[in-house]
Every structure is written in structure tokens, then in C-alpha cells.
């Protein structure tokens, strides 16, 4: 990669993904359960905050693909643990997949979350 390309990459803004806030059926119920898991710093639940990107169900197995507001967040492991324990209370064996690329953006916070913070 040339220096020009490296500079262009440095100056360009990263792509923005779209988080999921609602779903039908069981996936929707999982999302509702995840609304009890709070991000400690933002004071919002992880769904409203836009951290959850995918929910995949296979029997009693749930795979939650989520991101973090801050890659390398020192309490991220605890957040994942809370996700797993919350879903375990609903009879699901959950696994959390961390997806850091593309990174989370504050634009992904749901409207109601913005109202709560603003």
C-alpha cells in the first residue's frame, strides 16, 4: 500500500453498521430479555445502545453477535457474562460473538436512548 493510500485510509471515516432493535418471534423475546443488561457507563441497556447486531437461535442455543462502545473496554468481559446469565435465566445457552469491525458509533443509539441521555 502506498503512502498516499495509507494517508487516504487514515483520513477517511470508518463504515457504519446498523444495529438491531426489534425482531419477530423468539429473536424478539431474546432482544427483550437483553434489554435488562445495562451498559454501566452509558446507563442504557445494550439493545437501545445499539450494541446487539445479530441474534441467531438454534434450539436452546443462542448466539448473540454484539459490539462494544469501546474496543478494549476493561469491563467488556463482565458485560458478556451478564448477557449469558440473563439468557440462561430464560433457559437459553448463550454464546457471545464480539464484532469490532466496523466499530460502534453513537449514531446507532435508538431514538428513545437519545431522549434518555439528552
Amino acid at each position: 500500500m502506498s503512502i498516499f493510500d495509507r494517508l487516504k485510509e487514515l483520513m477517511s471515516e470508518p463504515e457504519r453498521p446498523i444495529a438491531i432493535y426489534r425482531a419477530e418471534g423468539l429473536e424478539g423475546a431474546v432482544l427483550d430479555a437483553l434489554r435488562t443488561v445495562m451498559d454501566p457507563e452509558a446507563g442504557l441497556d445494550i439493545v437501545t445502545l445499539g450494541l446487539v447486531r445479530r441474534v441467531q437461535l438454534d434450539g436452546d442455543q443462542a448466539t448473540i453477535t454484539m459490539t462494544l462502545t469501546t474496543p478494549g473496554c476493561p469491563v467488556a468481559g463482565r458485560l458478556f457474562q451478564e448477557v449469558e446469565e440473563t439468557l440462561a435465566a430464560h433457559g437459553l445457552y448463550a454464546e457471545v460473538d464480539l464484532e469490532l469491525d466496523p466499530p460502534w458509533s453513537s449514531e446507532e443509539i435508538a431514538e428513545e436512548g437519545r431522549a434518555q441521555l439528552g
Partner: protein
């Protein structure tokens, strides 16, 4: 992947608490000076002791302490085992160097030399641990580049410091001693401390206020101008970089989602606004005044603001195993003290600069106020840390709310 990267709290929180104590001491030393001549300040041992108490006891210790926790956050990967193992001993080395340097300036110069040796060893060994972490990461290229530039400035600034010391003991290596002194201060203050402030600021301020990253088309040229200006020792170029960097961060914060900010974050934002003004004024300000303004109005308030925010957060994170809901507010008294420390700190800096330009008694008044503000900040810091720690423990003890 389980990114659990909490550094043991004494390695981060203890240095942060000590920085506020050191700052109070430095302000008291300044208040004790009868008169300071701006043109010959480097001949005043009391002032030199105060300056080094700030640079080592506050700025270097804060950078070293928070770095053990925040470098892995910035790089988004666990730090090397050496990084983790040596953090405690290097803190001990740097903390023990500070009183030795102080006594060296005020009484026995040979002790100062021992202290300087310990401090330089600690800082360079820390740098050798930090640089591979920054170079080997994949995320946040701009924030990492600010920190890499900062670390290179540290090496250059310390090399120049060595040459200046040799000149002081009769072995001049530099033709222009005053110019060398200016470069030494510029590389360490603006290059190292400023680079860390802006690099970490670009991570922490958006993180805690839920704001987007600074716009790269503003923050990347700012970095080039900032370090380019320092390398060429050309104040207008550095000033343009300072202005752009401050604008980039303030513009990102303007787009924040969280409207209500804690006193620490408000202080950091105020310091950024002052950085923009300092950038504009840089071409016209004399070097020593630029350093005094940069230290008292920018570096100290900015680092204190960050410390007041991350200290309680880390105390909360360390106090139990699980998350247990959102972070509670700090105790009201701590909040009030932190707000007073914020105002006192900025006013003290303004009075110091005014005193250097006009009547020295203004600077002494500012220094007294600065000492009080630093002690208020320390009390607020300890109060918030203890309050959150207790609240977390009490919450964990409630039935059904136990730690995971």
C-alpha cells in the same frame, strides 16, 4: 474472546492520587517565591523544583499510571506479560525519584542526580513497554499515532535534557543553551504530555460523553502540524496544530449524545477550548510564558479532569466481579468539591499567567488557590472512589444482586 483487561487498581489509582498531592506541593513552592524573573526563571532553584514536581510528580506520574490501564484499552488487546509485570516496579521507581529530585534542587544536588537517574530509567523503560503495544495494534490509528509521536518526543526531550545537564556542569554540547532549554520543554511538555493528552483524549472524551471519534480530516492534519512544529521548533506551525486538534475534539464533543457531563469532563472540555486559544496566540507568546500557560491552563486541568472521571469508574469496576447495573452518581460532596477544584484550577492558572505578565503577587495568589484546588480535587477523588466502592459493595450484598 473475553476482553477483560482491568489492571490491578493500586497501579493506576495510587499514582493518580499522588499526582494531586504533588500538584498542591508545586503550587505551594511557587507561592513561596518572592519574585520570578521571566527571562531568568531557569536560575531559580525553587521554581525549578516546582516545575519538576509538576512535570514528574503530576504529569509523568499521571501518564505512567493511567497508561497501564488505558494503553490496553486503546489498543483493544491484552498487554504483554512484561507490560503487566513491570508496571508496579516502574511506578515505585518513578514515585521514589520525585522526592529525591525535589531535595536535589532545594538542598543536595547529588540526590537530585540520583532522582533524575531513577526517573529517566522509569520513563524510558515504560516507553520501551508502551511502544510495541502501540505499534502492534490494529485499531484507532490516529490516537495511536499521537501516542507514538509523544513517546518519540520523550526520547528526544530527555536526550536534550542530558545535554543541558552536561552544560550546567561545564561540558557544553549545545551552542544555544536557552534555545535548547526551550526545545527540551517543548518536546516534553507539548510533545510528550500534549501528545498523550490528545491521543488519550481522543479515546476517553468520546467514550465518556458518548460522542463519535474526532473527524479524521481534522485530527490527522492536526497531528502532522503539532509534531512538525515541535520538530522544527516553529511555534506558528505547532499553534496551527493545537488549534486544529482542539477544534477536532470539541467538534466531536459537540455531537455527543450524553448532554449532562461530570465536572471532570467539563474541565477537560474547558482545557480544550483554552488549547484552541493558546494555538492562536502561540506565535506571539514568549517561550517560558507559553510553557507556563500550557502547564497551568491546559495540562494540569486536562489531566485532573480525566483523573476525576476515570478514578471513580475504575474504583467501581474493581469493587466487585459483576456489572450490577449502571454506574451510580458520585457522592454529592465529592461532586461539589470536584466542581470547586475545576473552577479553582482554571482561575489559578489564569492568575499565574497574569502574575508572570504583570504583578507577581497575582501569581502567588493564584498559586495559593491552585494548592487549595489540588487538595479539593484530591478529596473529591478519594471521596468519589471510596463512595462508589462502598455503594458497589453494599449493592452486591443485597439479596439477588450478588456479584456474578
Amino acid at each position: 474472546m473475553r476482553p477483560e483487561q482491568l489492571t490491578p487498581w493500586p497501579r493506576v489509582l495510587l499514582p493518580l492520587a499522588l499526582t494531586m498531592l504533588a500538584e498542591a506541593g508545586a503550587w505551594l513552592l511557587i507561592a513561596a517565591q518572592e519574585r520570578v524573573d521571566l527571562q531568568a526563571w531557569f536560575g531559580n532553584t525553587g521554581l525549578l523544583a516546582a516545575v519538576h514536581l509538576v512535570t514528574l510528580g503530576v504529569l509523568a506520574l499521571a501518564i505512567q499510571g493511567v497508561g497501564w490501564q488505558l494503553v490496553p484499552v486503546l489498543t483493544a488487546k491484552p498487554a504483554s506479560s512484561w507490560f503487566q509485570r513491570l508496571s508496579g516496579p516502574l511506578n515505585v521507581l518513578l514515585i521514589s525519584a520525585i522526592p529525591l529530585m525535589l531535595v536535589g534542587f532545594l538542598r543536595w544536588p547529588w540526590l537530585g542526580l540520583v532522582g533524575a537517574g531513577l526517573a529517566i530509567t522509569a520513563l524510558l523503560a515504560r516507553s520501551l513497554l508502551v511502544l510495541p503495544e502501540l505499534l502492534g495494534a490494529q485499531v484507532r490509528p490516529l490516537s495511536r499515532l499521537w501516542l507514538i509521536g509523544a513517546e518519540l518526543s520523550l526520547w528526544a526531550g530527555l536526550a536534550l535534557g542530558g545535554a543541558l545537564y552536561l552544560a550546567r556542569v561545564g561540558h557544553p554540547l549545545l551552542d544555544d543553551h536557552l534555545g535548547g532549554l526551550g526545545r527540551h520543554a517543548g518536546l516534553l511538555m507539548a510533545g510528550w504530555v500534549g501528545g498523550w493528552g490528545l491521543g488519550l483524549g481522543s479515546l476517553l472524551l468520546p467514550m465518556f460523553s458518548i460522542a463519535p471519534e474526532p473527524r479524521r480530516w481534522l485530527f490527522a492534519p492536526a497531528l502532522l502540524l503539532w509534531f512538525g512544529g515541535l520538530a522544527l521548533a516553529w511555534a506558528p506551525l505547532w499553534g496551527a496544530g493545537a488549534l486544529l486538534a482542539a477544534l477536532a475534539l470539541l467538534e466531536a464533543l459537540r455531537r455527543r449524545v450524553k448532554r449532562r457531563l461530570e465536572p471532570g469532563l467539563r474541565l477537560a472540555m474547558g482545557a480544550l477550548a483554552l488549547l484552541a486559544l493558546l494555538g492562536l496566540a502561540a506565535p506571539w507568546l514568549p517561550g517560558p510564558l507559553l510553557v507556563a500557560a500550557g502547564l497551568s491552563l491546559l495540562a494540569l486541568p486536562f489531566l485532573r479532569g480525566v483523573a476525576l472521571k476515570i478514578g471513580p469508574f475504575l474504583a467501581w469496576a474493581h469493587s466487585t466481579e459483576g456489572l450490577g447495573g449502571p454506574l451510580p452518581d458520585a457522592p454529592a460532596l465529592s461532586g461539589a468539591l470536584a466542581s470547586s477544584a475545576v473552577l479553582g484550577s482554571l482561575l489559578a492558572g489564569a492568575l499565574l499567567v497574569a502574575g508572570l505578565l504583570t504583578e507577581w503577587w497575582l501569581a502567588r495568589l493564584g498559586a495559593g488557590l491552585g494548592a487549595l484546588a489540588a487538595l479539593a480535587a484530591l478529596t473529591a477523588f478519594l471521596g468519589a472512589v471510596a463512595g462508589l466502592w462502598r455503594a458497589r459493595r453494599a449493592r452486591a450484598a443485597l439479596p439477588g444482586m450478588g456479584a456474578a
